[in-house]
């Protein structure tokens, strides 16, 4: 709760900091606040379960763990906004504030105990994202991305809200636990279609937000059009918060109607894995490939939802999100640095990176190996925990399918690595400028990925 307050207050203060003549202070200050928030959140771990606002928000270990991921991800990502600082971007303070507000939304999404809070959290997060998607105002692609994101997102919000209203109509409550009790109560076995349509609409709405197929079609365009820095934010924080919220909703709220929604979720899982991975294969732009890859990772996270085991799934989602976020931030960071300075986002644009910037090439490799789920990196254990959760519930066919899909993914994750190490340097390419602070952060990201891959026990048993 403290973290929500700090973030909101500082978000507003930060807006006024925009009046300062120099914006060099903005990033260090934002990072400092995030460090404080991370600390405050970590302290909440020791306090056990607390509830706020008539139990509309509940801070328990689940909440703390996922808040930790989203705050950490933002913290690790911020140094790569430096280009905007150097170029004297006029609205920089606003963008930082929007990111912090988005974080408030994300935290509400993992802490909600009431469907209205979920809705408000999603909206706070989404509206900030609509704006930052269009941050590159003079770029038509960025404008397209913002508009597309906004229209599609508003549409999804409508569906979600409709679903919430229907479920409320059927059960008479917004509270998750009461909802769960009402649905599980055998006396209410004969429910009106209202409840089921409501559940279905909510599932569709959230699937939309996390970019799961067949509601994914906005993702590639939006991710490609948005400035890379914000794309990285969308594909990590938004996904993590979305899945944390989704799992809580399904487990606590809709657990009793499992037999009804499971086929839908299963279908979404299979489609998402298929479309994400096959889509990524065909791409020529690294950024668009990463957009499809983020769809495919939504698919792997969906497997944890399908497994639907209180401990194994929560743990799987937690570890997977963490490993995925760290690797994705690192991948987008390298891509952003290279793409900004070489003005291209295709595979050959990464050519010869190993010669000019061995550090970038190394970090890119580690993040790609992690995304592909190869041992020594966090991504391997992420997949391992998610898959074993599914196997323990008997979904062997699904896991085999997911394994085949990860074999496909190795193909496209290897391509940036091949480009960086084996392809020639593009004509006239200069070494990519990386500030020393960014280098340090890249090394931190790489070390985090390897630590997650070598000592997964550090965080795997938390939930």
């Amino acid at each position: 709760m403290t973290s929500l307050i700090i973030l909101s207050v500082f978000g507003i203060i930060n807006l006024f900091l925009g009046f300062l003549r120099s914006n060099k202070l903005l990033m260090p200050l934002a990072m400092l606040v995030l460090v404080i928030v991370f600390g405050a959140n970590a302290y909440d771990w020791s306090l056990g379960t607390q509830s706020f606002f008539s139990e509309m928000l509940v801070v328990d270990r689940y909440t703390v763990a996922f808040t930790g991921i989203v705050v950490l991800t933002t913290l690790l990502l911020l140094p790569f906004s430096e280009k905007y600082v150097r170029e004297g971007e006029a609205n920089l303070a606003e963008y930082y504030s929007l990111l912090l507000f988005a974080l408030v939304g994300a935290i509400m999404m993992v802490a909600y105990n009431n469907m209205l809070m979920l809705f408000i959290g999603i909206e706070i997060l989404s509206i900030s994202m609509y704006v930052v998607a269009g941050a590159d105002k003079r770029n038509a692609r960025s404008n397209e991305a913002a508009l597309k994101y906004f229209l599609m997102g508003a549409f999804a919000t409508g569906i979600l809200l409709f679903g919430v209203a229907l479920v409320y109509g059927a059960t008479g409550t917004f509270y998750l636990s009461q909802l769960g009790a009402a649905i599980a109560n055998p006396a209410n076995a004969e429910f009106t279609p209202m409840l089921y349509i409501g559940i279905l609409l909510i599932i569709i709405g959230i699937s939309f937000k996390v970019g799961a197929a067949p509601f994914h079609f906005w993702t590639p365009d939006v991710y490609e059009g948005s400035p890379t820095f914000f794309t990285a934010y969308m594909s990590t924080v938004v996904k993590t918060a979305g899945f944390a919220a989704f799992f809580k909703l399904l487990l606590v709220g809709f657990g009793g109607a499992q037999s009804f929604w499971m086929p839908t979720v299963l279908a979404i899982t299979i489609l998402t894995l298929l479309i994400g991975n096959l889509g990524a294969v065909a791409q020529t732009s690294v950024k668009r490939m990463l957009a499809y890859s983020s769809i495919s990772h939504a698919g792997y996270l969906f497997i944890a939802l399908v497994a639907f085991d209180q401990n194994l799934s929560a743990n799987g989602i937690f570890f997977y999100s963490l490993a995925y976020s760290v690797a994705t931030v690192s991948a987008f960071a390298v891509l952003k640095l290279v793409a900004d300075q070489r003005q291209r986002e295709d595979y050959d644009g990464l050519g010869g990176l190993y010669r000019t910037n061995p550090l970038l090439a190394g970090c890119l490799t580690i993040s790609m190996l992690s995304l592909a789920g190869i041992p020594l990196t966090g991504g391997f254990f992420g997949k391992f925990f998610v898959f074993s959760a599914a196997v323990s519930q008997g979904y062997i066919g699904l896991v085999v399918f997911a394994l085949v899909m990860s074999m496909v993914s190795i193909y496209y994750y290897l391509r940036p690595v091949i480009a960086a190490y084996l392809r020639p340097l593009p004509v006239n390419a200069q070494p990519v400028y990386v500030s020393s602070f960014q280098s340090v952060m890249l090394v931190v990201l790489a070390i985090l990925t390897v630590v997650l891959g070598v000592l997964p026990g550090l965080v795997s048993g938390l939930l």
């Binding site: 391997f380 074993s388 196997v391 323990s392 084996l422």
Partner: protein, 488 residues
Amino acid sequence: MLTVFLLLWPVAAALLLHFFKGGAARVVALGAALVELAVAAFAAVVSRGNVSGQFDVNYQWVASAGINFHVGMDGLSVLLVLLTTFLVPVILLAAFRREYENPSSLYALVLFMQTGLVGVFVSLDAFLFYFFWEVALIPIYFIAGVWGGERRVQVTFKFFLYTIIGSLFMLAGFVYLYFQTGPAASGLAQHTSELSAFYNLNLSSSEQSWLFWLIFAAFAVKMPIFPFHTWQPDTYTESPTVATMLLSGIMLKMGVYGVMRWLLPVVPYGVSQWQPLVLILSVIGIVYGAIIAIRQQDIKRLIAYSSFSHVGLMAAGIFSLTQTGMQGAVIQMLAHGVNVVGLFFAADVIERRTGTRNIADLGGLTRRTPLLTVTFLVVLLGSAALPLTSGFVGEFLLLAGVYEYNAWMGAVAGLTVIFAAVYLLRMFQRVMLGPDSSFTSTITDLSGAELAVMVPLVVLVFWIGLFPNTFLHISEPAVMQLLNIVKR
């Protein structure tokens, strides 16, 4: 602790190498590899005559999932660790002779790979085994890719995809086995991925039947067994010689070792169901590889196919499920490692001096290079399984094992000895004897450092050939124990 040292030491040295350049980097890399060899040799001496439980180290790794960091060495492991630690310094020495760009990264990758290789041979936990299995792959991919020949991009890509897809099947098999341990439908912490637990599972024979292929996929690609071999000749040819030596000398043994430790005892019924088919595939590989080798014009490619043919025989020996065959495979793993590294090094020496590997372009090397001729001939005859050399003992035992299983198969497999003599001696004759060619008129003999590579190999060729019992005694108890589990 000794085992852990063997695993951590090369990584530490690899990290340290980033701070060294040029000559200093060579000294550090070679020094580290020699220390590793000394420790492994000490382990081999200590472990003589013991069965298992040697140098066991068991820590909790992922406690919430019942995964342990469990390593240990029995006679079989210790021999392969010894082979790895012996070949790595030799390969490093060989690499020093060639002007590679960015050499300290190359040496660091070789040492890093050594950790993966040793890890594979000492792991006693399935996920740890898989972990090291992939850790060994990543450095070799970069060595082959960054320092390779013209077609390296496509070739290494194919190699990487083949091997990793194979190993993902193995992982799927391990995950299934993992969930068979412990009570059904319980939390992860009740399951275990210990090798010993896998040995004691009660799997139905139909389960074992498909599990066999899941696990075998990884090993079959790595060895490679016909028809999973198509990545191999290209990769061996296009890779820099360092990578080729690592691949053929050590990495191939990961597959053979994997079959002995992680396939046969885990799914014995599956093995007995598929035994005839795998034997037939192996024998096809033996003959097919040998026939193609006869027709090769490129020295490296010829050795690649000969290696493919030889590994087929190892697989056949193991799948005969006889003690003779298994022991033959063990000794042949050592012999083949030594021989093939020597052959590839000789090919590299010739290529570096003449600029060609094409057999037709070469000739008459003997007159100017007596040292090369003698050492090359020794490893070549070792590979052709001449009595008193390393290859003979292994092939004899392997063929005897296959013969025990089925006389006809033994007879066909026996063709390998004849074929090997044909293609190897034909190559030697055309390259070393005969009239000079324009490429070979200015060739110089082996330098001191190159002799330092060849002489240890030559010594071992004779050592294994004359005193195979030094090594067979070490592996015998371990092999007996494995067979007892298989035949249970």
